[in-house]
Amino acid sequence: MKLIQYAMGDMDVPAIFPILAMLIFLALFIVIVWHTYSLKKTFVDQMADMPLIDELTSNENTSKDE
């Protein structure tokens, strides 16, 4: 902690934080986009269907005054 405090205390422009943050985000974003679009369609479809197969009865919301 003291080391970090010492190093950061000398920093003239703490504006490096937003820049560093942007870089971290961009790296993460690129990795996720690449990864997501590499997923197989069969897997993706199977996962997307999960709420629809969680029980035998789907929606029964039809009203008596319909």
């Binding site: 970090i4 950061m8 703490p14 934080f17 974003f29 990864h35 997923l39 999960m50 929606n59 029964e60």
Partner: protein
């Protein structure tokens, strides 16, 4: 694989659903009451437990943690069991969670009404309740992760990711924002002070919106929208992108609540940049939701569930566009501290959270009661009346925000504030407040339709407490990545690793935006001139916090000319180093108070003025919407707590002498006696042991330490202008007098409890023309009269001076008794 039979627990779902409805109505009724109070202060009833400052936090806590909180748990307990094909991990934990949460809500309502508050928005509750929240939240977590552990479905669906992230983030936020030093059973001081406290609070506040009001509801959207539309989510790929980018970005954006305030520029920039970036994942989620209905939009016409869902998701898109726009500094300079913020949160709260909750319950209640919705027609009435309610709520507030902000900022050609009297800007927006009440009534009426529909549905149905289901058990030892399996697919099967990465995503932003303030000295400078609060001021500050004054008054002057002209010197970060908690506020229903203690400053008011104002604000200005605080005059100040408070401050690093706790009350009484004596000189008899004395001491402390920093310019000789006698000039002077002077001197100049009689022949500051003009021009700062030279043009000064002289010798009913020495003026004077 053998198929196992098990039972979903619908009973706990029903409990949470009922609690959602009950607390929703309670929260909306309290919301309606505070909307009425802002329009008509009579609705404060002069009862301390019902004043705006105390019940506004009850409204926000009720809507966020009681209504929305219970709605989240309803949906989570219902959908999680089905997505994981298992009952909840522990029925006992489910019910401890349920009752624990309801007890917390009840305690919150009672303690906030009693004035036990930390005053940090959406985190107002005192430390014992904070601990209870942490315990109940952990119980919920054990139950949730336990259910995940005994699941019969290998992959966690996207809704569950959002539930996990919400749980983790809320735990982190709640714990770190709640660190405090207890003073007594129901009183504590946050460990953070000033800008640190502000940063941590808005890191919490912004992310309470993110991880309590947004991510759990996105989980509900990802489950209930496909269910009702009977089609899968539009893009599972997009949901992965949506999830990770959203939770990563959200956590950085808190500083956008503090733009142009006393935090370093780099932190503000950080907040702005990440807020704007937030549009992308938010809109990704909205688009994913809406496009799920592609080819099925005809269903929206038929299904009230989808109607509510579509408006909810659209409102989510609107609010998540509006939020980043409000985080742009130039936009923020106009909208911050105005009703725009209130409109923004209500678009999100009423339409996104409210409508999605209604949608979910319209789907869920018939489902667990094995029946059909009682009436689609009634649900449609609910939809339209509530939508109209939202429109009538939000649009007037947007209008009020722009109107008031522009009035605050407008200058005359001569360079003076056009509306120096803050009250003028409040009166201008009162019609919008009346309309807002109508919007709230409509929304509540819609909720009544909803309750009738749900009650009738329940009555016609038959509740299935434990619903039979079956699924194959998961094979053991399924941890390794399968051949060709992508990392995310594998991660979806590994809840602990998944949670680990969620924590990392959340911590990166938290560390970057908070830690520098703890360790870099230059980010949190101190000012040598700033002294710790005296014991009496500290007690007064606690009363200020107790009464929720921060809900209407900010204590931070932004570096805009319109603010420095109105309030005085702009705020510096070093001013707040002893402020546990900070009191910057987020809305200026009343004026900023950061410079109230600067003698001779634009905001200075005398002890007598504060006394009378607190006793009855409408007597001072009949258009004021501030509640009266008569109990501050009747309540005796509890000084037995002083030593403990000073000790707590010492622990927090406030530089009192080590033995000061024991002798603090002696200083307190000395200062209280001097204020009481000052009041007595002004004709107010009050015992020095009353709470009002401490409140006055605190208000007179605000900004006072900066006096040595202001320039002392020698007084110039003032040229007294000629007296005007033409009717138009005197009429103009009368108008200025009515707007600016009548509050203290009476409408006819007859004087009142604050200011002296101006129409008799007795004078406190001289009867000569030059002396009268000087009093108006320079004010009498020591007695709370401001220098009108700063607020009026020379022409206006001449007009109001001429009018004031013209009414000398007139008569008026209820004139104040003479003060000062008698001197009959002659015309030649």
């Amino acid at each position: 694989m053998e198929v196992e039979k098990f039972y979903y627990d619908n009973k706990i779902v029903k409990f949470f659903a009922y609690a959602t409805i009950f607390w929703g109505v309670v929260g909306m009724l309290v919301g309606l009451l505070i909307a009425l109070q802002l329009a008509f202060p009579f609705f404060n009833f002069k009862i301390e437990y019902l004043t705006y400052g105390r019940i506004r936090p009850i409204h926000t806590n009720a809507m966020i943690f009681a209504f929305v909180g219970n709605a989240i748990f309803t949906g989570v307990y219902h959908s999680m069991q089905r997505l994981l094909k298992t009952p909840m991990y522990s029925k006992v934990l489910s019910y401890i969670h349920f009752w624990g949460w309801q007890i917390i809500i009840g305690l919150a309502a009672v303690t906030l009404a009693l004035g036990f508050t930390v005053s940090k928005e959406y985190a107002e509750l005192e430390w014992p309740i904070d601990i209870l929240i942490a315990i109940v939240w952990i119980i919920f977590g054990i139950n949730m992760f336990g259910t995940i552990a005994k699941r019969r479905v290998d992959h966690l669906y996207v809704a569950l990711w959002f539930y996990i992230a919400s749980w983790v983030a809320v735990a982190i936020l709640h714990i770190f924002n709640s660190f405090a030093i207890p003073v007594s059973f129901m009183k504590s001081y946050p460990i953070y002070a000033g800008i640190q406290d502000a940063l941590v609070q808005w890191w919490y506040g912004h992310n309470a919106v993110a991880f309590f009001l947004t991510t759990p509801f996105l989980g509900l959207m990802y489950y209930y929208l496909p269910k009702e539309a009977n089609r899968p989510i539009y893009s599972y790929r997009m949901s992965i992108l949506h999830f990770w980018t959203l939770i990563f970005i959200y956590i950085w954006s808190g500083p956008h609540h503090l733009l142009y305030q006393a935090i370093p520029d780099w932190a503000q920039t950080l907040g702005v940049v990440f807020s704007i970036m937030l549009i992308a994942p938010s809109w990704g989620g909205m688009i994913n939701g809406l496009l799920t209905l592609r080819g099925a939009w005809d269903k929206v016409r038929q299904s009230p569930v989808l109607k509510f869902m579509v408006v909810a998701v659209t409102a989510y898109g609107m609010a998540t566009f509006e939020g980043p726009m409000l985080a742009i500094k130039t936009v923020n300079s106009l909208t911050h501290f105005t009703d725009w913020t209130i409109a923004h949160v209500h678009i999100a709260g009423m339409a996104w959270n409210g409508f999605l909750t209604f949608s979910m319950l319209y789907w869920l209640v018939p489902n667990i009661f094995r029946t059909k919705l009682y009436s689609i027609k009634l649900a449609n009435y609910h939809f339209w009346i509530a939508t109209l309610g939202i429109v009538l709520y939000a649009i007037p507030l947007y209008w009020a925000a722009v109107t008031q902000s522009l009035m605050w900022k407008e200058f005359t050609e001569e360079g003076f504030l056009r509306y120096p009297n803050f009250m003028e800007t409040v009166v201008q927006i009162l019609p919008m407040y009346y309309t807002r009440v109508i919007g709230g009534v409509l929304y509540l009426t819609g909720a009544v339709f909803f309750i009738v529909n749900i009650v009738k549905t329940i009555r016609q149905g038959s509740f299935l407490a434990y619903e039979e289901a079956s699924a194959a058990a998961l094979p053991p030892k399924r941890g390794k990545r399968l051949m060709g399996e992508m990392i995310h697919g594998w991660l979806e099967r590994k809840p602990i690793r998944f949670t680990f990465w969620v924590i990392i995503a959340l911590l990166v932003g938290s560390v970057f935006s908070n830690i520098p303030f703890m360790i870099i000295k230059t980010n949190d400078p101190s000012l040598a001139a700033v002294k710790p609060y005296t014991p009496l001021e500290l007690q007064g500050r606690d009363i200020y916090v107790r009464e929720g004054c921060y809900t209407c008054h900010s204590q931070i002057v932004r570096p805009f000319r319109s603010e420095t002209e109105r309030y005085g010197e702009y705020s510096k970060s070093g001013e707040f180093i002893y402020d546990h908690p900070f009191q910057w506020g987020s809305r200026r229903t009343g004026p900023d108070l950061a410079r109230t203690g600067v003698v001779g400053g634009k905001m200075y008011k005398t002890a007598a003025w504060h006394f009378n104002h607190m006793y009855n604000p409408q007597e001072m200005n009949e258009q004021s919407i501030m509640p009266a605080y008569p109990w501050l005059i009747s309540n005796k100040l509890d000084i037995s707590s002083t030593p403990a408070k000073i000790r707590a401050m010492l622990i927090l690093g406030v530089p009192y002498a080590d033995d000061y706790p024991e002798r603090a009350n002696m200083d307190l009484m000395k200062q209280a006696d001097s204020i009481a004596a000052d009041l007595k000189v002004n004709g107010i008899e009050v015992s020095s042991d009353r709470e009002i004395i401490a409140m006055i001491a605190y208000l007179h402390k605000l900004g006072r330490d900066l006096i040595p920093m202001t320039k002392n310019t020698p007084e110039k000789e003032i040229d007294t202008p000629a007296l005007l006698s033409d009717q138009p000039s005197l009429e103009a002077g009368k108008l200025i007098f009515t707007n600016n002077c009548a509050a203290c001197h009476g409408a006819l100049g007859q004087g009142n409890a604050i200011g002296p009689n101006l129409i008799d022949n007795f004078w406190l500051h001289g009867s000569k023309d030059s002396e009268i003009y000087k009093s108006i021009h320079n004010g009498i700062p020591a007695k709370g009269m401001q220098a009108w030279k700063d607020l009026l043009t020379p022409a206006q000064l001449q007009q109001v001076y001429s009018f004031t002289v013209s009414i000398i010798g007139t008569t008026a009913p209820d004139s104040r008794a003479p003060q000062g020495s008698e001197s009959i003026r002659t015309k030649t004077e």
